[in-house]
Subunit: 187 residues, 2 copies
Amino acid sequence: MNFCSHCGAAQIRATMPYGDIGLHYICDNCGQIHYQRHSVVAGCVATFDDRVLLCRRAIEPYSGLWTIPAGYVEIGETLEEGAIRETREECGAAVGSLNLLALYDLPMFSEIYVIFAARLAAADFCPGPESLEVKLFTAEQIEWKALAFPMVREALRDWMAAPQPTPVAKADFFWGPDGGVRVRRKA
Amino acid sequence: MNFCSHCGAAQIRATMPYGDIGLHYICDNCGQIHYQRHSVVAGCVATFDDRVLLCRRAIEPYSGLWTIPAGYVEIGETLEEGAIRETREECGAAVGSLNLLALYDLPMFSEIYVIFAARLAAADFCPGPESLEVKLFTAEQIEWKALAFPMVREALRDWMAAPQPTPVAKADFFWGPDGGVRVRRKA
């Protein structure tokens, strides 16, 4: 951050605002505090007949290595919607029955990973533009040395330990037609 | 966003970058894409002897109403660390044994709520600067009409349905001394 996105001044300073915790960018010209936020990644360990869907990355980092479908949750979508979209984009596959499998913190990147266990309705998939290849693997067939990000190994390990995880309480909050907040329950 | 935080130009446009999904702010001067990110809130349904710790808010919004301790996760801390810190700040209470209780999506605010069930080691608490009062409540004593944010009602409902939630796989990723990624397992 070089310039204030509010007033355009080049008077940005990392400091601890009064009454606050942690370092934040503050503009010495207009006083705006620029809170840093998190990147939230959602992904699926998607299975068909006890086999897990992996895709081989066509892009850096870790091009050529295998991963579960996962990516940044967009503004305006829910965690499940993000996980379903990434699986469609990277693996050309439709998943349902999502259940929270694992939650990972990567504080050094300000990232949160939310990994769901999901089911493929059919063995129907094809690589999207970010993938070289998509394949179903039994637990024994997984090439552990050919996995991309460290979180992929952990997610597959968590799936092997609990292929059908206990549902976690889940709710989505939306605006109702009257402008009030509505709650949609998942489990 | 009025100015590019990278180059300072006032040529910000909300558009869909090529090969991308969703609307993002892009700078027409330097080409920087400003991805919007999420606000992550962590909180605790903290209990002592089957009673739940609530605090009465001293600040807007919902000043005077009751809430569970919760707040924005800072950059560099984990979800649990955020939930523990907020409970200390708002309720003057030390909690441990955190287990994921519920996960909420608020896509209209780009917010994710991560709520833990936690235990107080002792009935030892006092209001912080953002609270008027801190108290332990049995499920029967909860004043449902005097609760703050809609998520508080959902979290208390989830706690009543599963006071001791099944642990969810949890890992924190950190830099190791050799610059590689280390994984710290929770469950």
